[in-house]
C-alpha cells in the first residue's frame, strides 16, 4: 500500500491516501468537517461550501480538495471560530432562502440542514425572512418535489440515473432563480427502489416518496437520537 500522506487538522495528527478528499480522510481520522452536499463515492459538487477549511491559510472546500503531495505536513484549520461563524452563516442563509417549517416536515429529525442548525445553535437567523414563493411538483408518479426545502446540493442530479446513465434530475435557470427539475418523460420509469434512494439521498425534505410518511415518529429519528457528526467525531 502506498505511503499515507500526513497532515494536521486543528493540531490533530491525520493522514490520508493520495487522491482521497480531505473531508473523507478527516472522517477516517475522527475529525468531522460539516457538510451538506458531500456524498462519499459520487462526484463532488463543492457547492454548499459548508466544508470550507483553510489549508495553510488558504480557504478550500474539503470535499473537492484531494489529499496530495502539496498537503504533506500541511496544517488545516477546521473548527476555528472564523470558519464556524461562516458555516453558521451559510446554514442561516439556507433557512431564509427557502421556506423551512420543520415541525410539519416529513424529514424532521432526519434532516441534515436541521441537524446542522442545531449543531450551530441557530435560534433565529441573523437575516430577514423573505418567504419566497416556490413551485411544487407532484406530477411524477412516485415522488413529490418540494422546492421550499431544496438546498440545491445536486445530490439527486449526481446520484439518481437510469440504466443508460441519463439523469432524472437537473438544474434549471441560474443564480438566485436556480431550481431543481425532475424529468417528466423519464419519471414514470422510476422504480420504488430508485425513488426511495432519491428521498434518502436528499439531505433535506425536498424529495419525498409518495404514499408513505411518518413511518418512524418524530423524536425517534436519526438526529433525534444522536447529533450530526457524532458518529465521526472522536
Amino acid at each position: 500500500m502506498a505511503e499515507k500522506i500526513k497532515f494536521k487538522i486543528d493540531g490533530k495528527e491525520c493522514s490520508g491516501e493520495a487522491g482521497q478528499f480531505i473531508i473523507d480522510a478527516a472522517a477516517e481520522c475522527g475529525v468531522f468537517i460539516p457538510f451538506l452536499c458531500h456524498m462519499k463515492g459520487i462526484v463532488p459538487a463543492g457547492s454548499c461550501r459548508v466544508c470550507t477549511v483553510k489549508v495553510n491559510g488558504r480557504p478550500m472546500a474539503a470535499c473537492t480538495t484531494p489529499v496530495g503531495n502539496d498537503i504533506q505536513n500541511a496544517s488545516i484549520e477546521n473548527a476555528t471560530p472564523q470558519l464556524e461563524e461562516m458555516r453558521k452563516t451559510i446554514i442561516e442563509l439556507l433557512f431564509v432562502e427557502g421556506n423551512h417549517f420543520c415541525p410539519t416536515c416529513e424529514k424532521s429529525g432526519n434532516c441534515e440542514l436541521q441537524a446542522l442548525a442545531y449543531r450551530y445553535k441557530m435560534m433565529v437567523p441573523q437575516f430577514s425572512y423573505n418567504f419566497p414563493l416556490k413551485k411544487l411538483d407532484a406530477l411524477t408518479p412516485k415522488l413529490f418535489i418540494d422546492r421550499n426545502r431544496c438546498i440545491l446540493c445536486k445530490k439527486c442530479i449526481r446520484s439518481i440515473k437510469d440504466k443508460d446513465n441519463k439523469s432524472y434530475f437537473a438544474f434549471n435557470k441560474r443564480g438566485a432563480k436556480l431550481e431543481i427539475h425532475v424529468d417528466h418523460e423519464m419519471a414514470p420509469s422510476m422504480n420504488d427502489e430508485l425513488a426511495q434512494k432519491a428521498m434518502d439521498n436528499c439531505p433535506v425534505g425536498a424529495i419525498l416518496k409518495k404514499e408513505k410518511g411518518f413511518e418512524i415518529p418524530i423524536g425517534k429519528r436519526k438526529f433525534d437520537k444522536k447529533p450530526i457528526g457524532s458518529d465521526i467525531e472522536k
Partner: protein, 597 residues
Amino acid sequence: MEAKLKSIIEKHGKDAGRLMDILHDVQCEFGHIPCDAVKIVSKILNISKVDVEQTISFYHFFSTSPVGKNTIYLNDSVVANFMGREEIAKAFEKEAGCSLGNVSKDGMFGLFNTACIGMNDQEPAALVNGIVFTQLTASKVKDIVAGLKAGKKAKELVKSFGDGANASELVKSMVNNNIKKKGQVIFSEYATGSALQKLINKTPEDIINEIKASNIKGRGGAGFPTGMKWDFCRKAQGAEKYVICNADEGEPGTFKDRVLLTEIPQRVFEGMAVAGYAIGAKQGILYLRNEYLYLNAHLEKTLEDLKKKNLLGKNILGKQGFDFDVRIQLGAGAYICGEESGLIESAEGKRGEPRNRPPFPAQKGYLNKPTVVNNVETLASVIRIIEKGSEWYKSIGTKDSSGTKVLSISGDCKNPGVYEIEWGMTIKEMLDMCVAENVQAVQVAGPSGRLINEKEFSRKIANEDLATGGSMIVIGKQRNILKDVVKNFTEFFIDESCGSCVPCRALNPVLLQKLEKVISGKATSKDIDEMTRLGKMMKELNRCGLGQTAANPVLTSIENFRNKYEELIKIKEEQSVYEFDMNGAVKESCEMVGRKA
C-alpha cells in the same frame, strides 16, 4: 418540425457536446426553442429532457417562449445609464408598444435588458435581432422601430458604418473601434505569419522557454504567467490537447477584445496556433460571446484565408505533423462563461457552471483533455514575443509587468475608447490621456475589481500595483456612487451567478438588500459594518472568481467612499426597529379592502 430538427442535429454530428450550436440553430429556425423541439432534441441526442432545459435556461439569449418577431436587447451597464439609457428605454417602450422585459401584444417586438454588450465607449447601445446599434437617441429609436414595422431587416437599418474593418463587406456594422492610442505590441505593424515562420525551426520547449523568459502574464484578468500555464499543459498526460481563446469579454466596461477581433483576428488565430505548437494541440476553439455574433462571418473568413495561406490546417508552413485548426464556439449570454472552466462546460454544451479545482484545465479541460485557455490579447501578444524575442518584450513596461496593456476606457471622459499603454502608467496620467475632468472615482478592472478615489490616482496600472484586465470606468463628480454604480454592479453579479455556491447565490442578495436599506435611509451604521463582515465571507467561501469578487463593489466602496454611506445613515442603532416593512406587507390586503396604507 421533426425533419428540420433532425437535419440540424445531423449537421452537428448528432453530438450532445454540440448542444449550444444545435440550440442556436433551433432558435434561429423557430424564433425560440419550442417545448416540442426540446423533447425531440433530447430524444435524438439520447439525453434527458431536463438536461436540455438545464442548458437552455442557463443562457440569457435562449428562450423556450416567443421573444418577439424582432428582439431588442438594451444594454443596462452603468455607463449606458450614464449616457442616457433611460430615455432610450422609454423611447423603445413607446415605439414598440411594450414595456421592458415583455413581448408586445401583436408579437412584433420583444424588449429586454441585457448586461454590458461591450460597447461602453459608444453608449447607449442595443442589440436588435443581433445587430448592434450604438449611440442611440430617441429619434434613432423611432426610425429603427418604424423600419422594422415596415418589414425591413435590422441590418438594412444601419445607415453608416464604423471605422476600419467594421465597414468591411462581412461586418458592415456601425460599431467604432475608437483606437485612441497605439502601442508597440498590439497596434503596430506586423506581417501575418512571422511568428509561425520563426517557430517552425524551433522546438515546443524553445517556444515555452521564450514565453517564460518574456514574463508575460495573462491579459484576461487573473494575470497567470502564460509560459508556466503552457508548460503545465505540455507536460500533462494525454495525446489530445486543446487551445481555447477566451473571447467572452463579459466584464462590464471592457471592449478591447472586440477591437482586436475586428482589426487583427489573424494575429489572434496565429497566437492560437503558436500555443497549439507549444503544448502539442491540434485543435483550437475560439469562444465568442453572443453579443459579438456580428463578427462571426468576418472571423470565419479570416480562418479560411489563413488556411489558404497554410498558416492553419495541415502541415503548417510545410512542417510535417504541425496541424492546427480552429472552430468558433458561440456563447449565449452568460458572464460566467468567461471563467475558464465555465467556458469549457459551455463549449461542451452544458450550463456554464465553473468546475471545482483541482484538476485545473491544463490537466483536465475541454472533454477532460489538457487545455490551455488564454485571453484574446494574450494570444495577440505572444506572436510578437516569438517574432521579436523576449528581451525586446521585457524592455517594454515595468520590471514585473512586461509589455503593453490594452485598456478599455469609458464613462465620464471626453475620449472613451481603446488605448494601448505601457504597464506602469498612473491613473492620473490615464485620466489626462482620456481627458477626464471632475473625476470622483475610477472603477479599475470592472465590477470585480476596485472602486478607487482620488487618493489612489497616483497608483500605477501594473500587476504589482493596480492589476486590470483592461476595464476602466471613469466616474464623474455628478454621479451617485451607491445608486448609479454599486447597486448596478451588485445586481449584475446576482444575475450572472451560476447559483451553485450557497454564498454566491444567497449572500449577495442579502448584501443588495442591505445596500438598498442604506440608499433608502433606513439603515444604521451597524448595517455598514455587517456588509463589510459578510462581504469578506464572499471572498473566502465561493468556488470561483465571480463569487469571490462579487462583493467587491460593496467592499471597495465602503473602503473608499464610506462617507457616501454615512451621509445616508439617519437612524441610530437603538432607534432602529425591524427590517420588516409593515406597510409593504399589508399593502395587498389594504388594496383589497380599499384602504389607503
